[in-house]
Amino acid sequence: MRSQRHEDPGTGGAVRARAVLVAAGVLVMGFAVVGSLTDPDVAVGGVLLFLAGVLIVHDVLWMAVVLAVGAVLARFVPARYRTVVTAAVISAAALAVVALPLMVTP
């Protein structure tokens, strides 16, 4: 059964606050787009490529690895060690990501 989205939007004040946030956000995004198109230092094609690239690599490759590791942990690590092991894996992954450029560059 599909869950229905049932959200109480809140009082009038909350609705206004949300509208302001969304409007401000849209304006700021517009500023970013216009600014990057008019800045001669910005290679728009390269930026778009990298934006799409990180999104796809993360959502397809990275998450596949993460979910696989998670499944292995759930299957093989006894419940009482799972928190510590998971914490260690999260740390190892974070450190590996930050250190990646160091391992690649000469």
Partner: protein, 420 residues
């Protein structure tokens, strides 16, 4: 996606909300410190940047990089937590829903762009980035903040509800809920209020019946465990990298390419003389530092520069990549050179030019605050020895509270402008 495709029951609105809150704070800090760094390097007319405290930029840029690196595990955990929502069906229930999904895609892509790009920049691996990092990082910073504002506006009631409900005290709480199983047709608002059932695509009946609904602990791994694990990861990343700017922690630096004492004369170098193509010009006997003011121009050779009154100051080089190191610099006060060409140093601005023929940072403008500051030097020596070629021999600019890219090396010309 079929029900149960994402079996981890640690995912919840509450987990996503906590991670989102932490990430929002981190990105806010990064945005403010990053904007500041941009304004210091490209000051619009209304922006004034003081020359004291000496280490202010070092602090703000160090904070920027440290917060950005700590965001790696935060962002990773947040995206894991909400990943099932990528597979919502139908993909767009309405135009508004489609717009919201597009804005989330922009947010995720931009957040990854900033964090991954930042990690690559700190590690100085530019090959994967087919653009000039600094300008792109600046504009996508605005993009990510805009998308974040939209996201907060959309999700505000969900977050409020998810964070507001009282937390069950212990796993034993589950006993109290077995007598009140969640009905299959309860709307998601109860899910939000309950807080711990996987939302989105998993059929509620499968997950809920007979399983822990309230309480944090599910199969040994709890929300607090995840949050704790993320906090530890963020702490470890910070401890092993922030030493690039915080001296006492420098022995722990393993994750970034630079320690503060790593380089010629005990100070790191980003751009070497050979990369800048200035070796012959800098070492040649015909070297002259030209100091020009309206109507006057003088050329000073190295001997003439050394003959002027020398001063010694201790100032940091604070790089935009988040590392910094302090050096003991000796040389001529910039304000003394300004006075030498007949201009009042308390009312002057200066432009310095490098021998480097081409390059983004071959010139820099020294604003009045820095020009008149007695700590601002045209440095000839570092640590008592003549400047190493890679540190800007024969002369470089060193000023307090200024990003490293603006401490121009291999100076060839100084142009003085008097302010009205």
């Amino acid at each position: 996606m079929r029900a149960g495709a994402f079996p981890s029951r640690v995912r919840s609105a509450r987990l996503s909300s906590w991670l989102g809150l932490a990430l929002g704070v981190a990105f806010g800090v990064c945005f403010v410190t990053g904007l500041l760094s941009h304004l210091v390097q490209h000051p619009p007319g209304w922006f004034g940047w003081p020359s004291r405290p000496v280490g202010l930029y070092r602090f703000t840029q160090g904070l920027h990089v440290a917060t950005g690196l700590a965001s790696v595990p935060l962002l990773g955990a947040k995206l894991w937590s909400v990943y099932p929502r990528l597979f919502q069906w139908p993909p767009a229930r309405s135009v508004v829903h489609a717009a919201e999904r597009v804005s989330v895609a922009v947010l995720v892509a931009a957040a990854l762009f900033q964090v991954v790009g930042g990690v690559l920049n700190v590690g100085r691996w530019y090959a994967p980035m087919p653009f000039f990092f600094t300008a792109a990082h600046y504009w996508v910073g605005w993009l990510v903040i805009g998308a974040l504002l939209v996201h907060i506006g959309v999700q505000l009631p969900v977050v409020r509800a998810a964070l507001a409900r009282p937390v069950p005290q212990r796993p034993g709480d589950r006993a109290g809920t077995e007598g009140e199983p969640m009905g299959e047709d309860e709307p998601v608002s109860a899910d939000v209020a309950g807080g711990d059932v996987v939302r989105g695509d998993v059929v509620r009946g499968d997950v809920v019946r007979g399983d822990v609904v309230r309480g944090d602990v599910v199969g040994g791994l709890s929300r607090r465990g995840i949050l704790g694990g993320v906090a530890v990861a963020a702490g470890l990343v910070t401890v092993t990298s922030v030493g690039q700017t915080a001296g006492p922690l420098s022995p722990l630096v393993v994750l970034v390419p630079r320690r503060p004492d790593d380089g010629p004369q005990g100070l790191p170098v980003n751009r070497t003389a050979d990369r800048a193509g200035v070796r012959d010009l800098a070492l040649g006997p015909a070297y002259r530092l030209t100091v020009a003011a309206p109507g006057r121009e003088i050329g000073l050779g190295l001997d003439a520069l050394h003959a002027l009154v020398q001063h010694t100051v201790e100032l940091p080089i604070s790089c935009v990549e988040g590392w910094s190191a302090t050096g003991l610099w000796s040389g001529v006060r910039l304000r003394d050179l300004v006075a030498l060409v007949g201009t009042d140093p308390d009312r002057a601005a200066v432009e310095v030019e490098s021998l480097e023929a081409a390059g983004r940072y071959r010139t820099s403008v020294v604003a009045p605050e820095h020009t008149r500051d007695p700590l601002t030097l045209i440095a000839l020596r570092l640590g008592g020895e003549p400047l190493h070629l890679d540190h800007g021999y024969p002369a470089r600019l060193i000023a307090p509270n200024r990003p490293g890219v603006m401490q121009t090396k291999w100076l060839g010309r100084i142009t003085v402008r008097e302010l009205r």
